[in-house]
Amino acid sequence: MDPSSTPKAASPSLARHAITYPRFLWKALGVATDGGVPFYLWMTVLTAVFLVGMNAWSHQIVNGMGVTNLTDHVSWGIYIGNFTYMEGIAAGAVMMVIPAFLYRDRKMYDVVIIGQILAIAAIIATLAFVVVDLGRIDRSWHLIPGIGRFNWPISMLSWDVVVLNGYLLLNLHVVGYMLYSRFQNREPTRAFYLPFVIFTIIWTIFTLSVCAFLYTGLGGRPYWNNAILGPRFIISSFVTGPAFLVLALQIIRRTTRFHVGDAPINTLIKVLRVTVLANLFMVMHEVFAELYTGTAHGASAQYLYFGLHGHDALVPWIWTAMAFNAIAALLLLFTNERTHLLRIDVACVLLLIGIWIEKAMALIIPAFVPSTLHEIVEYLPNALEWKVSLGLFALGLMIFTLGVKLAVAVFTGEMKAEGAPR
């Protein structure tokens, strides 16, 4: 699997690509949908959940957003929360790329493609969460630069559309190019991917920052309008991305012929040990700044952690998140991954849930409670919002699964161009 040992073939002419590339796509469709009973079962379950979500969304389109629990007071809820969470996962996936290419960690090279496939799947889910949050999906074309009327560079949301789609394209290019090269059993030309990979790393930080600016850029929401939100968002992304990948790589290792060594997993665990603590460290600073002085700007944090004027819907959620993150930190710190990998896995699951609460529930909702006129209107998602959300998570997982299947097929040589040199 070491790229340096793969024999090099002469670069085929452009004309040949016209034949090879469609063939690659056709075969890709074939292998991505090929599998054993567990695979079909998994995909069927995901499809079912996705369709339930689509059905719920259809009802939302027909009847208006009134079918959700959103109000004029809490005008953004679990959709934007999940948007934020998934953007974190997408960007966090790049934590595979950084060690691989910045530190030239050769053991990372082989699995870095998995991280980028995760980025693609997660970014599609991220965009989908924005789409379901729109009141007028029929007018979404107004967002297309050139055709619509794009308020760029003024609106942070227009920036976000740019960076997210750019991030998607960058990752699609790198993944597509890598797989296509492997498909033809050719050594990828560095000039065609390395600059893009380096650019992806920079773009990731940029993407996460822009997403944070969506919130910190609103002077009327003191809970968001602070400088640590961005760094905290970036750090927690570097928790969820690696945590998901640690689990995903183990599953891939067990269920496919794809070779995943211990080294990449251990590197990710090392990353996690740092980011989990850094995240908790920033939580401490945020909580202190919000609550110690007792200013009115701390009302949202007060509501989140302890309840405000008898309203406390989020209190159980945030303390669950705190507990999960703290337990996960302890597990990560005091476990030898070589002997007790299962404990690390437990930590990863706890972190995925804990950070989900932090991002989806605790980052978005308290900014609206109390409202800008200090009315307290509470919000928790209703069944329909849960269905739509789970449906989109299922969509992300489906794309990830298909992408991984394709990558595995190409990397194990199961899928290759006819006449490609072995």
């Binding site: 007071h73 560079p153 003024i154």
Partner: protein, 191 residues
């Protein structure tokens, strides 16, 4: 870098209307400014309450009367109330320490300022102004008092309330009212 700045500047400048004919409406026709009409109470004080609290009173007595009906130089009615007998008990004066003579002329047909200047009832605002200077000033400048009609007098007239439209002279406190139109947002779940 400089090209980025240029780009930002280009995009940031406001994009106006594609059809310039829709940009602005012509300035308001510079016609003669129309009047501000101040609503006026009747020129003589009208006492609206029953003239007597006695249930067995003379049914021929009018329902309401002007002050001068009894108090004028030539009263139209003979005053049948003995001094000391309770009368006008339903005139509740809740106006600081003021008594009748602070505002009413002796014969009650005119209003009278402290310096002796007399006013018709319709000129009540000038009487009020002798004590409520700042409010009168605010009223004159449009900062006090309800109004209707046009802010732009070149396009139409305006009507302004008079002091006693909102503040009954004998008990000028605005008083309490029950609020209307409570919010019934979605989350309140009562619709």
């Amino acid at each position: 870098m400089s090209s980025l700045v240029l780009l930002l500047a280009l995009v940031a400048c406001d994009r106006g209307y594609s059809d310039p004919s829709r940009e602005l409406a012509p300035a308001a026709p510079a016609g003669e400014p129309q009047a501000i009409t101040i609503r006026k109470p009747p020129a003589v004080g009208v006492w609206k309450a029953p003239l007597s609290d006695d249930p067995d009173r003379d049914p021929d007595l009018p329902e309401s009367a002007t002050c001068g009906t009894c108090h004028g130089p030539e009263p139209e009615l003979e005053i049948v109330v003995e001094p000391g007998e309770p009368f006008h008990t339903n005139i509740e004066v809740e106006h600081g320490t003021l008594t009748c003579d602070h505002c009413h002329d002796k014969d009650r047909t005119l209003l009278r300022e402290a310096n002796g200047t007399k006013h018709d009832f319709s000129e009540v605002a000038q009487l009020c102004a002798q004590c409520h200077g700042p409010t009168a000033k605010a009223y004159e400048n449009g900062a006090h008092g309800g109004m209707n009609g046009y802010w732009d007098l070149s396009q139409g007239p305006r009507t302004k309330n008079n002091c006693v439209d909102c503040h009954p002279a004998h008990a000028p406190d605005f008083g309490q009212v029950m609020p209307v139109h409570p919010p019934r947002d979605r989350h309140m779940g009562n619709h």
